[in-house]
């Protein structure tokens, strides 16, 4: 039996030449600005979308809404910034947080702020969370064929004083939730939220009323996600929306 | 360049004649009292030489010349546009047009159509405002000014030679020898340059052509 085919290698010379070495050195060689995991790297073309990762969690309470989000944005394996705030204030009773591509997120938030301002100037009153939810849905669908790469959570106090969270996908399908998680750690965070908070799957619909408990849970969720998701870390930003306004605070989490 | 050409371009085996390109070595050097331009004479596609002794030195205005390298159809069209704009500017100014604006027009055309053009050109000349100037626009629209400029596929072979032997303010004769040996060396190594050397000397009061045939390239 000749040794030739014993090693089985040279029969597949074609396979050997064509495949792309996926070692790290190959990644470094490419033009630096296309540095992302090379699986979906189009040959030489410009890919308008990049995912800056990061995770955000929103939990609706009886008369408040809590948003816990990490403050790290990254590109490929490299950290762009360690203290980037993912939530912006639309009105005194409504906040929006999103994960995905930072450029799209900022544009979308600015656009929403502009629309809210025009609404306030025209009708002399601030828009309610329900109307903003509808507005956001339409804005996202407006760009159906070049979508905003932003997965949003709109949180606020609705008319009868209850906390509410609206979950979105990138092109504008939305519905009212009691809690939501978006971003790179969403698969990790979702089970804890389902277990701990009252959602669709519960027969007894009572929203949590103790802010400190919900805050601790939110922080714990982001911390546990940071344990297992490489794109989550640095700091957790807690935003609490209730009838007398919005409070923001930050605490460090693991930085590796 | 019709669609047929383009399809040929894509399927290499079947391609009998691809788009005519000037493989080219073009060089421009400022010497004490003028500018010397040099270009080889070969304009070929990837298979055979289309024009043995093509002239790649395009007159733009009295004292402004530009040298073409890249797809010859693109570059000659660009030269035509630049000549047209320079004529307008000259009429308006009532005087010779500045070399800088000729170069900027070329840059504007190449930069804004960068995805459908492949042309990298050198624009040099004299104007009463800033004297002798050499500008270079490469195929992606990057605009440079300098005392010498080099472009074309043959150019890559002689970067070393130029870095070593270039001196500021050479005399006219020295500069001529320098350019001749540069292009000869390039043609010696680069298969898409060769044929002959066309030289052009721009000074304030006159422009003078020169032709060097292949056999006195004096390369061993």
């Amino acid at each position: 039996m000749d040794l030739e085919n014993y090693t089985n290698v040279n029969i597949f010379k074609k396979v050997y030449e064509k495949r792309e070495v996926s070692s790290i050195h190959n990644v470094v060689e490419q033009p630096h600005h296309l540095l992302k995991d090379n699986t979906q790297h189009a040959k030489g073309g410009f890919n308008p979308y990049v995912n800056n990762q990061g995770t955000t969690v929103a939990i609706a309470g009886k008369d408040f809404v809590l948003v816990a989000a990490d403050t790290r944005i990254s590109q490929g394996f490299n950290i762009l910034s360690r203290d980037y705030s993912r939530t912006t204030k639309l009105t005194d009773q409504c906040v929006i947080t999103s994960g995905g591509m930072v450029a799209d997120i900022e544009t979308l938030h600015k656009l929403l702020i502009a629309k809210v301002k025009t609404y306030q100037r025209q009708f002399k009153k601030t828009p309610t969370v329900e109307s903003l939810a509808q507005l956001l849905g339409n804005t996202l669908y407006g760009r159906r064929f070049m979508p905003y790469y932003a997965f949003n959570l709109l949180c606020g106090i609705d008319q009868n004083g209850q906390g509410s969270v609206y979950g979105y996908d990138a092109i504008g399908s939305w519905d009212k939730l009691t809690y939501g998680v978006q971003g790179s750690g969403s698969e990790l965070g979702a089970p804890i939220l389902d277990n701990q908070f009252v959602g669709h799957n519960y027969l007894v619909k009572t929203l949590p009323d103790d802010v400190s408990v919900v805050e601790d849970t939110g922080k714990d969720i982001i911390n546990s996600i940071a344990e297992r998701d490489i794109y989550t870390g640095d700091q957790v930003e807690i935003v609490i929306v209730d009838k007398n306004g919005i409070r923001v605070k930050r605490e460090p989490i693991r930085r590796d | 360049m019709s669609i047929a050409d383009l399809q040929n371009e894509i399927i290499p085996e079947v391609n009998t004649h691809s788009v005519q390109t000037d493989g080219t070595t073009i060089i421009a050097v400022k010497y004490d009292g003028g500018i010397l331009l040099g270009a080889d004479g070969r304009s070929a596609n990837n298979m055979y030489v289309g024009n043995k002794v093509s002239d790649k030195l395009e007159p733009i205005h009295q004292r402004i010349y530009c040298q073409r390298s890249g797809t010859s159809s693109h570059t000659s069209t660009i030269a035509r546009y630049v000549r047209y704009y320079m004529e307008i500017q000259a009429n308006e100014l009532g005087n010779l047009p500045p070399v800088e604006s000729a170069a900027q027009v070329m840059r504007e055309i190449i930069y804004s159509n960068k995805n459908s053009l492949s042309a990298s050109m050198i624009c040099s000349g004299w104007d009463p405002y800033k004297g002798y100037q050499i500008y270079q626009v490469n195929s992606s629209g990057y605009f440079e000014q300098g005392n010498w400029a080099l472009s074309g596929s043959g150019g890559t072979f002689i970067w070393g030679y130029i870095d070593a032997n270039y001196r500021e303010n050479m005399t006219r004769a020295e500069c001529k020898e320098f350019i001749k040996s540069c292009i000869a060396l390039a043609c010696y190594r680069d298969s898409s340059s060769g044929g002959c050397i066309r030289l052009l000397d721009i000074t304030q009061d006159r422009v003078e052509r020169d032709y060097v045939q292949y056999d006195d390239f004096k390369i061993k």
Binding site: N8, V15, V21, D220, A226, Y231 | -
Partner: protein, 272 residues
């Protein structure tokens, strides 16, 4: 005599039959090959006056999920040779195990200490044979009769030696530290601190690496394996009361209790 049954035996080594099938399917677009995940790591090695220091982080990732928070990346090849592995974890473990066995056999046959270069060359030959398909980026370090040596073997089969090496996805950050702070003939402490700083660079600045730092110092006929010498990455906050799973959260529709009758064996634990 013709041993035809031999042909039916499965051939040793790797079997590449399904490569053709995979390629055909991928081209036909029915099924995309599973994305080869790039594993992240930071490992480094540095030479000092009378020995070698190897260091590594302890995070093993699968894509963007951390698989193991405290895995061991510094493998022992021989009493005087260690090697840190980056790239596909399985490849590193098994290949280093294989080479360790061969080195031991060699030691027993020649009654002499192994040489670092031999270990490196065996790794490189193996990797080259499989054309880089084996994702093993190794830094082999050790002290032998020719003095302290440090060799890097990449997965496509080339090896080269420098006074300091870093590989893995965190190699860029670690290399910056090495380039700026490496000095010739460092003392043991300086070398260890330099390696720790380099690995921490990878841990904090590269997403693919994290958790703790392992260091291994090898000097003439002595090695010290310092496991988790630095471990300051831990879960910062956890919910004080832990999680309760209140029964009343769910509306009880119907309750059904049934005493479990056991014919043989002990009684089941009383749950009431």
């Amino acid at each position: 005599m013709e041993l035809d049954y031999l042909k039916t035996l499965p051939l040793g080594g790797f079997n590449f039959d399904n490569c053709i099938r995979n390629r055909a399917m991928a081209e036909s677009g029915i099924l995309q090959a599973p994305k080869t995940m790039k594993t992240g790591t930071t490992i480094c090695g540095v030479l000092f006056k009378d020995g070698v220091v190897l260091a590594a982080d302890t995070r093993a990732t699968g894509g963007s999920i951390v698989g193991d928070k405290n895995c061991e990346k510094i493998h022992n090849l021989a009493p005087n040779i260690f090697c840190c592995g980056a790239g596909t974890a399985a490849d590193c473990d098994h290949v280093t195990e294989m080479i360790k066995r061969q080195l031991e056999l060699h030691r027993l046959n020649t009654h002499s200490e192994n040489r670092v270069q031999m270990a490196a060359l065996k790794l490189v030959a193996h990797a080259f044979k499989y054309g880089g398909q084996i994702g093993t980026h190794l830094i082999v370090g050790g002290v032998d009769v020719k003095g302290p040596q440090l060799i890097e073997c990449s997965n496509d089969g080339n090896m080269y030696s420098m006074p300091y090496h870093t590989t893995g996805s965190g190699s860029l950050a670690a290399m910056a530290i090495m380039e700026t702070r490496y000095k010739e003939n460092m003392t043991r402490e300086e070398a260890v601190n330099l390696c720790i700083a380099a690995i921490e660079a990878g841990i904090y600045h590269d997403l693919g690496s994290g958790s703790n730092v392992d260091v291994c110092v090898i000097t003439r006929n002595k090695y010290e394996m310092l496991r988790n010498i630095k471990h300051d990455n831990f879960k910062v906050f956890s919910k004080p009361g832990g999680y309760q799973f209140k029964k009343d959260r769910v509306q009880v529709v119907e309750e059904f209790k049934h005493k479990l009758v056991v014919e043989a064996g002990e009684q089941p634990m009383d749950l009431s």
